[in-house]
C-alpha cells in the first residue's frame, strides 16, 4: 500500500466533469510528478486529497487512512504548498512558522530548531521583514518551509515552479529533490523539463483520467527506439533516400527522421543503405523526451 492511494475518484463542477474515474497510487519515498495541461484537474485532485474539496465518488487513502472532507485528520501526514501560496502578510517568516508549529502541536523548542533549519534550507534565513513584502519566489520558498515544518510523510506541491524564472525554478527543484529521503514528494506541473529533472515516477492526467503512469524509465521506454534519425554525408543521398522512404521527414539538409520504426525496420533500412552503397555519418535511434509523449497523450 502506497502513502497515497486514489481509487475511482470522480468530481464535477456543475456539468463540467473534471475528474472521471481517477485511480493511482504513490509509493513511499518517491518524487512523484503529476503532469497535465492547464485545467486538467491537478489542483482539483490535490484539494480532494487534502479534504478541501469533496469527491463525488471514490476513495482516497493517505498513509492507509481514509480521507474525509472538512475535518481532515489525514492532513497530519501531509505538508501542502498551494499553487498560489498566501500567508498572513503582517507576520514575519519566523512568526508564521511559530504559529504553524503551535497549530500542529509541536513543542516550542522543536519549532525554533526546525524553523532555523528550514529557513536555511529554503534560503530565507535572516529575512526578518513581513511576508507582505515578499516576492513571488520568496513566498514559494516560504511555502515549502511551512509545508515541511511538521516533517510530513507526504509533501504535496501544486505547480511550485510555474510562476518562477529558470533560476528560481532550479532552486525550488533542488530543494524538493533534497527532501526526498525523509518524505514522499508529489508535485504537479505542466513544465515537462522540471519533471524529467527530479522525478522518479510520473502520472499524466488527461481528460479526467490517468493516461500514463509509471517510473520515468518505464514511461520513456514505452516509445524507446520508435523513431530513428539518419544523418547523410551528401544531400543527394538524402534526397534519394526520401524517394524510397516517403514517410521520412527532412529535418535538416542532410538529416532525415523516420517515425515508428521497429528493430526489423531498422535492419531493413540498413540493408537498403548498404545495397545502394550509401554511407551515412550517423544513424541513431531517438529516445523521445517527455515532451513528445505528452503531445502524443494529449492528441490521443
Amino acid at each position: 500500500m502506497g502513502i497515497l492511494e486514489i481509487s475511482h475518484v470522480t468530481k464535477s463542477f456543475g456539468s463540467n466533469r473534471v475528474i472521471k474515474d481517477l485511480s493511482f497510487s504513490v509509493p513511499e519515498h518517491a518524487v512523484f510528478g503529476f503532469i497535465g495541461q492547464n485545467g486538467a484537474g491537478k489542483t482539483t485532485t490535490m484539494k480532494m486529497v487534502l479534504g478541501l474539496l469533496k469527491a463525488d465518488s471514490g476513495e482516497i487513502y493517505v498513509n492507509g487512512e481514509k480521507v474525509s472532507f472538512g475535518q481532515t485528520a489525514t492532513n497530519r501526514f501531509i505538508g501542502y504548498l498551494p499553487d498560489v501560496p498566501e500567508f498572513y502578510g503582517f507576520m514575519t517568516p519566523r512568526e508564521y512558522l511559530a504559529m504553524c508549529g503551535q497549530i500542529t502541536g509541536m513543542f516550542p523548542d522543536k519549532v525554533k530548531e526546525k524553523s532555523t533549519e528550514l529557513l536555511k534550507l529554503v534560503g530565507l534565513e535572516g529575512v526578518n521583514k513581513q511576508i507582505r513584502n515578499f516576492s513571488r519566489g520568496m513566498k514559494q520558498r516560504m511555502g515549502i518551509a511551512q509545508a515541511l515544518l511538521n516533517s510530513p510523510k507526504l509533501l504535496i506541491c501544486d505547480e511550485p515552479t510555474s510562476a518562477l524564472d529558470p533560476i528560481g525554478r532550479k532552486e525550488i527543484l533542488d530543494i524538493l529533490y533534497s527532501v526526498r529521503e525523509h518524505t514522499t514528494v508529489i508535485f504537479s506541473t505542466h513544465i515537462l523539463s522540471d519533471m524529467e529533472r527530479i522525478c522518479d515516477r510520473v502520472a499524466f492526467i488527461h481528460d479526467g483520467n490517468i493516461a500514463l503512469n509509471g517510473t520515468l524509465d518505464e514511461i520513456k521506454g514505452i516509445r524507446k527506439g520508435e523513431g530513428i534519425e539518419i544523418d547523410f554525408m551528401h544531400k543527394k543521398d538524402a534526397a534519394f533516400f526520401l524517394q524510397n522512404y516517403s514517410s521520412g521527414v527532412l529535418s535538416e539538409e542532410t538529416r532525415i527522421v523516420l517515425k515508428k520504426q521497429s528493430e526489423d525496420d531498422i535492419i531493413e533500412i540498413m540493408r537498403f543503405l548498404s545495397q545502394k552503397n550509401i554511407a551515412v555519418r550517423r544513424l541513431e535511434r531517438l529516445e523521445p523526451g517527455l515532451e513528445d509523449l505528452f503531445l502524443e497523450v494529449v492528441k490521443g
Binding site: 487534502l50 478541501l52 497530519r76
Partner: protein
C-alpha cells in the same frame, strides 16, 4: 529519578494533549490579535470608541451655547427660547443616539475578517496544518466580541466619567442595565456577522446579509405584540433612563438575544465545517 519517570510517563502525555488543545487556540487568537494590532485596526477602533465616549458629554455641554446662538437669531424673528437645562440625562440620551453609529463602523471593520481569508486562501494553510475549524471560528468570534466589549467599556467609561464630573449620574435610571442591553445587541449583530461570513464570499455580501438579519428583526418588531420578544427591542433600552419603564420588560428580549447568539454560533460552526475555503 523516580519522579522524573513519573513525569515522563504520566504528566507528559497529559501535558501534551492539553498543550495541543490549548495551543491551537492561543496560536490563532495570537494571530488575530497581531493582525488587528499591525494592520492598525485596533488603534482605529480604540480612537473611535474614545471619540464616541467624549462626544456625548461634549454635545450636551455645547447645547446651551448653540441654543444661545440660535435663540439670538430667533429673537429677531420674534421667538423666545428660555433657558435650556442640560444634565447627565442629555449626555446619556446622546450616548444611545450615537453608539449605533459606532456599532456600524465596528461591523464594517470586521465584515472582511473571513472573506479576505477565503479570497487569499490563507485559511487553507491553517486547516491543512490540522487546525480544527471550530477553533478558527471561535477565535475570530472571541476577538471580535472582546474588542466590542472593550470598546463599549471605553465609551461608557468616558461618558460616565465626564458626566460625573460635570453633572450627576444619579438622575438617570438603570444606566448599567440599559447600556448592557445595547452591548448585548452588539454581540448579537457580531454573531449575525459571523453567520453571514460563513455563508458569503465577499465583505459586501456579508454586510448585506447582516443588514437583512437586523432588518427582519426590526420589521417584525413593528408589530406591537411581538416586539419585546426580539433582539432589536434592545435598541430601545434608552427609554429606561427616565425611570418611566421597568427593567423587567427587557428581560425576555435579553433572553431571546442570548438564545439567538448561541444558536447562530452553533449554526455557523456546522456550516463552516463543511464549507469550501
Amino acid at each position: 529519578m523516580k519522579e522524573k519517570r513519573f513525569q515522563l510517563l504520566i504528566l507528559s502525555p497529559l501535558k501534551r494533549t492539553w498543550g495541543i488543545k490549548m495551543k491551537q487556540w492561543t496560536a490563532f487568537i495570537k494571530k488575530e490579535y497581531l493582525e488587528q494590532l499591525r494592520t492598525g485596526k485596533l488603534l482605529v477602533l480604540l480612537i473611535l470608541f474614545c471619540l464616541f465616549g467624549i462626544m456625548n458629554p461634549a454635545i450636551a455641554k455645547l447645547t446651551p451655547w448653540m441654543m444661545e446662538i440660535l435663540s439670538s437669531q430667533m429673537e429677531e424673528s420674534g421667538m423666545i427660547v428660555t433657558g435650556v437645562k442640560v444634565d447627565a440625562m442629555t449626555s446619556w440620551v446622546q450616548f444611545f443616539k450615537n453608539m449605533p453609529m459606532a456599532l456600524i463602523v465596528f461591523m464594517i471593520m470586521f465584515s472582511g475578517s473571513f472573506t479576505t481569508e477565503y479570497q487569499k486562501g490563507t485559511l487553507v494553510n491553517v486547516v491543512t496544518k490540522g487546525m480544527k475549524r471550530y477553533k478558527i471560528l471561535a477565535a475570530k468570534m472571541g476577538i471580535m466580541m472582546m474588542i466590542w466589549t472593550l470598546g463599549c467599556l471605553v465609551s461608557f467609561g468616558i461618558t460616565f466619567g465626564y458626566n460625573a464630573f460635570f453633572w450627576d449620574n444619579s438622575v438617570v435610571h438603570h444606566i448599567g442595565f440599559s447600556v448592557f442591553c445595547f452591548y448585548l445587541l452588539g454581540l448579537w449583530l457580531t454573531a449575525d456577522l459571523i453567520l453571514a461570513s460563513v455563508l458569503c464570499q465577499s465583505a459586501s455580501a456579508v454586510m448585506i446579509v447582516t443588514g437583512v438579519m437586523f432588518l427582519v428583526s426590526y420589521l417584525i418588531g413593528m408589530i406591537p405584540v411581538v416586539s419585546e420578544y426580539l433582539p432589536t427591542y434592545l435598541l430601545r433600552s434608552g427609554e429606561l433612563l427616565t425611570g418611566a419603564k421597568s427593567a423587567g420588560g427587557y428581560c425576555i428580549s435579553v433572553a431571546v438575544t442570548i438564545f439567538f447568539i448561541v444558536l447562530e454560533a452553533v449554526l455557523s460552526t456546522v456550516i463552516f465545517n463543511k464549507r469550501n475555503l
